[in-house]
Assembly symmetry: C2
């Protein structure tokens, strides 16, 4: 158990380090505290022994350890008061009443602007919705567009070229069959149903008729299962002093460019706030980085995630409330 004064010192060190990114020395600390540098040095030595602080070299000031950050986030941290102002900015964004996709995108942009870190949103996927209606609309020549609409309003389309001279009535027949088979089937089960439920007489009929339509379907459906994702403020990281080394920058930017970030954000079983500090995200490029993520719920079973990626030296007391506030807003949409 930490003594009160130790807590105070730890908190101060973290908050100063978050601002300056420089190891914090006893002289510097004593300006904010009513103890002499020597006393503070003793406390720091103790905190280091307990694993809350580290040194960058034998005669440097102290730097928080991952354990230190954790303790800070869990017990020491108090919400940054200025965050209130930022929240009104979020409010006003939501007042504009835009389409959800755009709202998420703008929210993520705002978030990375407010925090100066990188923001990520994983949109809800259509995977949990069910087929509502399938349509085939003739366009020109032999080309038609296939439409699939789900019960939550997700839409996917794909152009297909039918064998020339296909009978229109026959087509409407096919579409009717598809609607019969697939109505109210969850998106996640459609491809199985189409592929393996071949015993079904009607599907046999269909396959015999035109393989291409089925393929177009499968294509459209796989697109349903890919949830959109938004990324903003990557370049903010370049202004963080921990990325003054070009190799680190390359590593990080490569990482952002790949879709590996998805793995990072896949939220934990625990469905509230998750804070992963430093090494905990096992990705090499994310050394010295932390991820804070919060799920949001859009509909029954439809959940997405928003997250902020920053250096371990992150303004948790600002980021965490902002993320939670944003998630609450998004859930209300």
């Amino acid at each position: 158990m930490l003594k009160e004064r130790q807590k105070l010192v730890l908190k101060l060190i973290i908050e100063i380090f978050v601002k300056t990114a420089e190891p914090v020395g006893s002289r510097n600390l004593s300006k904010h505290l009513s103890f002499s540098p020597a006393t503070i040095r003793n406390e720091m030595a103790d905190l280091e022994d307990m694993g809350y602080l580290e040194k960058t070299h034998s005669s440097s000031g102290r730097v928080p350890s991952e354990k230190g950050y954790h303790y800070y986030v869990e017990t020491l941290m108090v919400e940054e008061p200025e965050t209130e102002v930022d929240m009104t900015l979020i409010d006003s964004l939501f007042e504009q009443n835009m389409a959800r996709d755009e709202t998420i995108e703008r929210a993520i942009n705002l978030l990375s602007q407010l925090t100066n870190y990188t923001s990520i949103a994983l949109g809800p996927s259509a995977q949990n919705s069910r087929v509502k209606k399938i349509e085939l609309i003739p366009l020109y020549g032999d080309v038609s567009v296939l439409l699939v609409v789900t019960n939550l309003g997700y839409v996917e389309s794909k152009n297909i070229t039918l064998p020339s001279g296909t009978d229109t009535e026959e087509l409407t027949g096919i579409i009717r069959i598809l609607n019969d088979i697939l109505y109210d089937v969850p998106i996640s089960q459609v491809s199985n149903k189409l592929r393996y439920d071949i015993n079904h007489e009607k599907i046999k009929e269909l396959l015999a008729y035109n393989r291409q339509i089925i393929d177009a379907f499968l294509d459209a459906f796989t697109r349903f299962t890919q949830s959109k994702f938004y990324l903003s403020g990557q370049s903010n990281m370049l202004y963080q002093p921990e990325f003054k080394d070009l190799d680190r920058v390359r590593e990080l930017m490569n990482f952002f460019e790949k879709n590996d970030i998805l793995k990072l954000v896949e939220h934990e079983s625990n469905n509230g706030l998750t804070v992963r500090i430093g090494q905990e995200n096992e990705i090499k490029a994310m050394k010295d980085c932390s991820v804070v993520m919060v799920p949001y719920q859009v509909n029954e079973g439809e959940t997405g995630t928003i997250a902020v990626v920053g250096p371990t030296r992150m303004e948790y007391r600002k980021v965490i409330p902002l993320l939670q506030y944003l998630a609450k807003h998004l859930s209300k949409l």
Copy 2:
């Protein structure tokens, strides 16, 4: 007019510099040529006087000037023979017969992989297509989804909440009116038509009835006019020696992150290959960068652009044929 030997020297300097990114000296050149360093130095001095070469400092080797690159691209350059191999890779990508969006995305990825530069594609916009069909499909409660389909198969949708207790028949009536008014109207004119053609009796009726539907429409239509765009291989630039300076990196990454790249790629009136070398793209972040772009045509009036961004010291003789080859393929889709 350049003498043959001068052309040879210029070409060699450019091709060596493209590989090494180091100023090219006379001794180095003489290894590839059957003249002594002194002779070559004389030619280089002449080429510098004519503005094809530059020095980084008084006693450094030579570096091509922008004028030098231009001359190279226009007259000296011969297609890199290995590009053939890359083209078969492009071929095999197109054999997979994916949806167009995905094809473009994958093509751009491949392109940045093959070149080690950054690739951009500007998808064709739906702006030039016409309204084919409008539908309103009830989902649950008072929520319906609005669908707009164009004659080329573009689809946009938007969920709307209708005033509770809206009559279904009334709704189908509204949709019929909208279809009547907007059928075959070019997307680019829809919003004008809806907004200013208010004299039209039927629209008056509609507005009186429900403002929300109109807004949903306008929203869906504005999304039609935004052409998708694809960006890949940003981080490739970080491995180019011209970006060993962090400030440059920040500038460039910022630029990539903003949608300003669109401005860069907006293709010229001249509808073939465009090569913009160095300062010609007036954007500060693009100092020392070149852009090579080629339009591709998808349908009557539907054109997009693909482009490669790299350092001025770019492998033009590889990039240009690849881009053109890719554009040809995309046009065939």
